[in-house]
Every structure is written in structure tokens, then in C-alpha cells.
Symmetry: D4
């Protein structure tokens, strides 16, 4: 199971994309709010119990001085995927990106693009897929589908009439 957490309910529109990707790929997940700065003890407890509760990968999204992914990674040895969120308080997203990406040696966070929650979901599925052939096969089909969708757009672009 993949555990999706976010620093605030306001992050839900972005983070729901991780859940949608996992649903498409047939990977079980749960989703909740864990705030590093407003519920630090809840963060500790979540991270300490994640592995024993059957979570394989944590997807954590946060904005601004985004400490949630890194603090979860400080406690669990599960892979933690960080999603920098361009929140209303963010400086064009640079604060979220750097707060999540630049972790010190010993404590990695797998960072995806700004607001890249969909990719966080796919990456979580890829991690599950390293040992689950069914998920791996779904990922192959998913990738073929990405390609096929591009191919359906060729005609429109190739025949575009310049105004």
C-alpha cells in the first residue's frame, strides 16, 4: 500500500493526482493530512508506524518551507517521495523544491517536479512494480498508452492551417 500524506487540506487538489494515478495502475493507497509544523507528534507517529502498517512507499506533498517529506524520511527507512507544491505563500515554488530536494547525505527524499503529484503516484507504482509483475505489466501498458495518445494528435498538428 502507498501512503499519501499532505501538509494541509488545501494541498488536496494537487495531491489527489497521486491517488488517481495509483488507482489507474491498480495500486492500493490511503490518503490523509499530516502537518510537520502543526502536528509534529502525528508526523512522528505516522512515520514510525508506516512500515509495520504495511505501507511500502510514502508520497508526501508540502509547500513553502516544506519539511514534511524530509522529516518522514528522517524516521522511516521506507522510500519517501516528495512533491513540492506551489502554494499561495510560495516564492514561485523555489522554496518548496529546495526544502524537499536538498536533503543531507544519509536521508534521501525522491523529489518529483513542482506540483508533480501524478508522477509521484506513478513512481510509487514503479517501486511496487520492481517486485510485483502485475503492476509492472500495467506500467508497460500505461507507457504504451502515453505513446498512443501522442500519436492521435499528429494529424491535427500536421494539417494545422496557419491563420
Amino acid at each position: 500500500m502507498v501512503g499519501i500524506i499532505m501538509g494541509s487540506k488545501s494541498d488536496l487538489p494537487v495531491m489527489a493526482e497521486a491517488a488517481k494515478a495509483l488507482k489507474e495502475l491498480g495500486v492500493a493507497f490511503e490518503m490523509t493530512v499530516v502537518s510537520a509544523h502543526r502536528t509534529p507528534h502525528r508526523l512522528m507517529e505516522y512515520a514510525e508506524k508506516a512500515r509495520e502498517r504495511g505501507i511500502k512507499v510514502v508520497v508526501a506533498g508540502a509547500g513553502g518551507a516544506a519539511h514534511l517529506p524530509g522529516m518522514v524520511a528522517s524516521i522511516t527507512t521506507l522510500p519517501v517521495i516528495g512533491v513540492p507544491i506551489k502554494s499561495s505563500n510560495s516564492i514561485d515554488g523555489w522554496d518548496s523544491i529546495l526544502s524537499i530536494l536538498q536533503m543531507p547525505a544519509g536521508v534521501p527524499v525522491a523529489t518529483v517536479a513542482l506540483n508533480g503529484a501524478r508522477n509521484a503516484g506513478i513512481l510509487a507504482a514503479q517501486i511496487i512494480g520492481t517486485h510485483d509483475e502485475q503492476i509492472a505489466n500495467k506500467l508497460e501498458a500505461f507507457k504504451a498508452d502515453l505513446r498512443d495518445k501522442v500519436l492521435t494528435t499528429l494529424e491535427e498538428v500536421e494539417n494545422f492551417k496557419l491563420s
Copy 2:
């Protein structure tokens, strides 16, 4: 008493400047290492007990994805002063600055300049000085001394011979 903490022993050359400033200003302090990412439980315990142990202000320095000041501030209601450190892994210090500065509403960190540990010490003394007249007086003398030191340099600059 002021509690000075840093994420790693390698931050000591920078953070010792906070201690020196406090010593000059006659403010008691203690100094130790608390790593948000390598000793998260120690961080929790430090922050939870700081007020009852008699600490009035926490000065916390960290580099890169610098979560130490913000996580201490998530637990204690003491003022927390954050010192962004330009560590060897830092991207010109931008990561440290933004990770410390851009805290969400509700959980402030008083951020000083990059590597500005001396100012963190002075700011801690100013906080103590809001209710301690002796420290306030020392701060006035300290400020006068800053001014006087500038005045001693006038002659050299005013009489500088262009090569």
C-alpha cells in the same frame, strides 16, 4: 539562557559566532548538536523540554534542506532564531535560506542572514533585553561601540592615496 543548536558538528565554526556574541553581551547560553534528519527524536525531546529547562530563546543553525529551526518551532512556543548555513552541499545558500524563512502561518522562525550567527546571538540578547535592563544597557554600549569602530576608520579612507 539561550540554547544554541546546530545540525552538525561541521556547523560549529559558523555557529560559535552566536556564542561569542552572547558571551560579549553577558548572556548565558549552552550549545549542542541536534540533527533534524539524523536525530529526530532528540530534536523532539530538546524542543519539548526547552522552556521548562529555563531556555528563553533557541538559536538553530542548519544548511541545505534546513529543517531544524522550523521543526523546533513546531513544538516549542519559545522564539526560535534560524541561521541559514552555506554548507558544502548548499546551492549558494538559497536552499538553507528558503527552508528556514518560508514557514507557514502559525509557526514563525526569526531568520537572520546567511551564515549570520553573530546576528542571531545579538538578536537573542535583544529578546532577553526586552525584560532585562542590564542586558539592554549592554546592547546600547555594544551599539555605540559599533559606531565608534567605524569612526576610527575615517582617516585612513579619507587620506587614501590612489595608486
Copy 3:
């Protein structure tokens, strides 16, 4: 008492958040306009008299080349909290942040996040709370409230139906 100042009346929508936070926490404050660039003598007088007028902490907000917090700090030995404001002329707020944060050794400004006036108010209360138990207790209740508000959002996120 906390003195809240801002460089222009146009900063009021941001800076009023500092006042609101102080009101919630039961800390007395006053609020006025002091422009470093348009009323420099007023700035000098404000800063020189702040302590004797009973002000314990100054909260100063400004945008662009934001000199107000630093210039107040050059005169008073009270703690000065700087609020970088993303004004219409600002370059995404970088100018305000760097103009306030990067003070030279000897003259600290406690900088909060871009537009982070609410945190400036809370930080001012924390400074008062270092020596005022009643305020300290209110800060503890305030922090518990922050946590409790997060907990009320769990159900909605945990039961979110993917569209």
C-alpha cells in the same frame, strides 16, 4: 506593547495580519506608517523613542528595496521583526526578502516569510512571552488550536472520492 510599522498605507492589508495575531494572543500593539524613503526623519524619531515609549518589539513591513526594518534596527536595540512584502513593484518578492534578511553583522533583523505578517505578530508575542507567563500560556493554547484544526480536516481528505 508591540509597535507595528509599514512603509506605506498600501501595505496595510498584509500588515493588519500582524495586528490580528497580536489581538488574538492578547498582546497590546499600536500601528502606524513610517516610510524610510519618504519620511526618514520620522523613522529616526520613531526608532529613537521606541524603547522609552514602552515598545518591546518592533514589527516593520516593507516591499521592494525594503530599508525600513534595517534602518530601525540601526538605531534601536529593541528586537526588530522584518516582514518582506510582495508589493506591485517587487520582483517576485526577492528584492524585499534580500533587502531585509541580509543585514550586516552587528545589526540583526528577525525576518519572517514573504507577506508573513501573521507570523511576525506571533513571533512578537513569543518574545513578550519569554517573560510573561500569561502570554506564554496563550501561545500554548494557540499552538494546540493549530493542531486541532488540522485534525478536523482528516476525515474529508481520508474519504475523498476521486473524480
Copy 4:
């Protein structure tokens, strides 16, 4: 097995840290050079055959306009960890970071810190450890060791004599 690749032999001093971390954690790996821009067909072949050759995770490091991790991820459905390298031609590393991090929806790359190859190795082990209890246990021991090393530095910092 983890496949470590890099865009150039000159990246070896950085990327060898990924190999060292994997060796410490008892995870098998291989290491070679694959250049996106100079050996594009080799890149295609590497990525196409990686899963069938038994590779579980790819760790790919590159500098400047760093296309290697993203292009491998465009072909394989294995998790790809990207290491931005601050090469001599890089603009303070920003080019490497953004070229690796900002992948479009559908094709994730798990990005670590600038020059963060050690963390890439640990993250790869964490991915293996989601289904390999022995590796998971080693990761727990590794994390405990990180903590213990911090604790050995306390005394020196706490007793530091100000000069």
C-alpha cells in the same frame, strides 16, 4: 541489482558515492557510462534491456542539460533515480537540477540533491528494501548508525572553548 550510469567518466568521483552506499548496504550493483548526447543508441539499448537483465532500479547522474535520467525513464518502467551533477560547465547546478526534476506528467524521475549520489544509492536500497527484509534491516541499522555518529560529536560541541 541496481544499475548506476553516468553521462561521462568525469562524473565518476560523484557517482562512485552511490556505489559505496550500495556496497555498505549489501545491495548488488553495476556501473557504466551511458551518454545521452554522445551515445544515444547505447542509451536506448541500455534502457530497453534493463528490466530483462535483472536491474530493479536505475541510478543516473548527469550535469548541465542533463537528459540521461529522463530519457532512460522515457523507455523503461523501472524506477529511475536522477543525480544532478554540478559539472564544470554547470550554472551553479541549476541547469542539472531543473533538467532532471521537471519531468512531464507520465514519466517520473526520482531526483535527489545536487551531487547527492550517496542518497541515490540509499534510496535505491530503500526501494529494494520494500520487498527484501534483509536489506530493510540493514537500512534500520544504517539509520541507527547515522544517529549514533551524531551523538559522538555532542561532547566536543558542548565543551567548545570560545577563542
Copy 5:
């Protein structure tokens, strides 16, 4: 003939400007979608056959971690003009610019301004014009027209009435 390619149909509003410029200048072109990350084999095939199909210059536009121009340039020896696109996922365009511009020695991409597809079209015509006098003459007329259009605006500005 100039080959115009883009990473996604959503780039068409920007990239059509390259086509319009080429049409104005009487240079033949074709336009299609080639996604580096979603259709990597199509990219390889496109680049490998471009020269033999009679293409003289490739204009490639992409946003975010923009690998399309650089990967085409890794395969063909034709000149490749890269257009950084400020897509919805982009960080103010910096990611697109740096991903396209900072190519390693040996594999150039001729980068134009952010969203500068019109200039990419003109540059492609200039390249054709190095050996085609008719196109060179059209470029001279085009440049004279640029100048003349400025001159028609002088009167309005010179006689502008201040409100």
C-alpha cells in the same frame, strides 16, 4: 525544408509562430509532434531520417525538462534550433531554457528566447539563406519592414499627450 517539431500538441499555439515566419519568408516546412519522453523511438527515427528526407534545419520546441531539442541534436548533424516553452508546468520558463541551452561540448542546440518560436523560424530561414540568394533577399526585405514598422509609430509617441 525546415522540420518543426514540438513535444506536445499543447505547444502548437507557440510553435505555429515558427511556421508563420517561414511562410512569410517563403521557406518550405513541415510540422509534427515528437515527444522525447512519450515517443522516444519516434524521436530516434525522426532524427535519424531527417537529413535524407531533405530537411535542412530542425526547429524543436519543448517545455519543462525539455529534452527534445538536445536529443534530436544527439543523433542528427543538422542544425537544431531549440525553443524553450513556458508551459503550465514550467518554473517561469527557467527549466525549459536551461534544459535546452546548456548542452555539453560536441552537441550544440541553437537556443532562442523563451516562447521565441517566431525567431526560430527566422533563424531557420537565415540558415537556408546562407546558400539561397532568394531567401537572403527576402530576409533583407523583412528586416527593412521591421524598421519601417517602427517608423510608423514615431508620430504617436512623439505627440503623446500626458494625462
Copy 6:
């Protein structure tokens, strides 16, 4: 006369270039230290008396949160030229540049390049030269000399032997 001021004696190596340029161009100047943050009253007095003392242009250099040029401009109506200095505490000079450049409407500072004190001196001479024909003539000769120095380097570059 041109008044050259700087925030610290440590800025002298940079700021002396302004003096040298003025000397070359035959413009009288004086040079001293005025620190916005350490000697704010001296700053006020300097700016208030500059015009009556016969100063025509102020050249002010400072680093980090550089408030000196803007604060002088807040008091005097003389033209103030600001020189951003890349001091040891500066973040690659961005802080100095933005603190000096981004002045609010009503209070201009004429900003030159980072460490561009030589240009500040020349600009001050150009200002004097708007009403002093002798200086204007010297500036013409100076400009011709710039050109001639370039021309002396042509041969070496044109005949450069590739190694």
C-alpha cells in the same frame, strides 16, 4: 565636487576605482566612510549637508542589505549613484543589487553594475559634464581612448595561433 562614500573600510578596494576614474577625468572628489547601519546619524548629517557643502553628486557603495545609497537619496535631492558591492557576506551580489536598484517611486538611485565603481565615477563625471564643457571634452577623449585601446588588440587576436 563628487562625494564618494562607502559602508565600510573593507569596501575601499572596490570604491577607490570611482576615485581613480574621477581623477583621470579631472573631477574633484572627497571620499569617506558612512555606514547606514552602524552610523545612521552620521548618514543623516552627511546627506543633509551634502548640497550646501558643494557636493554635486554622491557615489555610495555598499554590500549585502545595502541601505546606504537609498537612505542618502531619501534625504538629499542630489543625484545618488549606487554601487552594489559583492562583499564576503553577499549572496553572489543579488542582495546588494536588489537592495540598491529597487527603490520606490519618488526616490531614485542611479545603480551601476556589481562592483562597478569605475563606472560610478565616470557617470558622476558625465553628470558634471552636462554643464561643464571642459569635463565634457575630457569624456570625449576618454571615450576615444577606450576605442583606441581595443584597436591595439586586434592584431594579436587576428593572428592568434591555435594550439
Copy 7:
């Protein structure tokens, strides 16, 4: 007389502010379009004849890769004030600022804030005012007016009712 020039008619809404400021201060001016990239010969002619035509100061505004101010300054010895404009093609204004500010030694441009045309007008008046007492007096009155306008806003802010 002050010569106001801009790279394109589309810069007029910004650049008209320079004209308005000069009109308020009683300084004569003319305004026209000179494009460095579309009318380079016009630029040369404008700059070569500016002084003999009686122009004392040039105010030049441009966006993007803004070469107009610097190229005028390469020809004339008059003071040139550069106004970086945040045009639609600009990257948050950084391109305009750096293209104007970072002039090489020998050829200064007096740069004002992004879109700071009003300050460019005031600065031009200050330059005229170094030798024209009437303009100097108007600048003093203008500065007093800036201050007085701030003072009229005090009451509203001081009596602001928190909602």
C-alpha cells in the same frame, strides 16, 4: 532638455511616467521611439547628435535583451538612464535588468528599478538640478510633498479596525 526614448511603442504606458515626472518638475523633454534591434542606424544617429541638439540627459527604456540604453551610452558621453521594462516576453524582468545594469567598465548606464520610469524622470531632473537652482528648489518641494502625502495616511492606519 531630457530625451526620452523607448524600444517600442508598447513601452509607452511605462515610459510616459518619466515624462509626467519631468513635467511636474518643470523640466523640458522630448519623447520618441528608437529601437536598438529594429532601427540600429536611427539609434546611432540619435546618440551621435543628442548633445549638439541640446539634450542633457537620455532616459532609455527597453525590455527583454534590452540593448538600447547601453548602445546609446556607447556613443554619447551624456548621462544615460536605463529603465528595465517587464515586457510580455520578459522572464520576470530579470533579462531587462541584467541587460541594462551589467555594463562593462568605461560605459556606465544609470539603472533604475524595474518599470521605474517615474524615478528615471526624477533622476534626470536631479541631474539638471545639479546646475539649475530653480529645478533644485522644485525637487526640494517635491520631496517635501512626498513626505506630506505619507503623513496624511497616518490616521487611517492608526485607527484601522481589525475585522
Copy 8:
């Protein structure tokens, strides 16, 4: 023939790489100094006569506020390749890059990486190669050589012994 120009003799160590690449590829070139800011009339003349003198492509390198490539492109209709140079006065190269890259619609400059003069030379050869089969063939061999050089490094990396 390719015309290589640079703003200053000090750019020669960087720009000679363009010449070396052209020599390797058998493309004729000439090299000289043309300074936009110190020799503007020389720039005009160079650009006006380039085509008639038989130049097919201009390679122009400059640092700081780099106006040379764009100003040449404002006059000639030949393709102009711009090389941003990280000169001693540059702000990490950002000024050079943005001054060259962000040209307005109508006047393209083909920008290469920071200090990427070697790629500028190769790009110039690619442009010649669009109509010169011999050069095109040399470029194919050059590309094969790039690949082969990578392949010679595989063994060393694959057999690297971790210390």
C-alpha cells in the same frame, strides 16, 4: 567563411575554442575583436559588410551586459551565433545568457551554453554543412568520434574499485 568576433581580447581563451572546432571540421574562419560598447562604429561596419565579404555565419561572444551578438543581428541577415561568456564581472553568467538569449521577435540570435564556444563552432559548421556535403560528412565522422571516445572509457568505470 565563419566570422568569429569577441567583445574583448580577454575573451580569447574562451572564443578560441570556436576556432579550434572549425579548424577540426575544415571550415574557414577569421577572428577579430569587435566591442559593442567601445567600438560601436566598428560593430556597425563589421555587420554591414559581413555578407558581402563572404562570411556565411557570425559567431559572437561577449560577457556581462552582452550586446555584441544582438547588435550584429540587428544589422545583418546572416545567422548570428551568440556565446555568453562568464567574465570576471559577470553574475555567475546569468547576465550574459539573458542579454544574448532574450532577443525580441524579428531579430534572432542562436544562443549556445555559457562559455560554449566549441559548440558555437560546431553549430557554424552544421550551418555550412546544410549545403556543403563535404562538411556534412566531416560532421558525421566527428559525431562518430564523440561516441567512440565515450566507449573507450567504459572499462575504467565498469571496473572501478571502490576505495
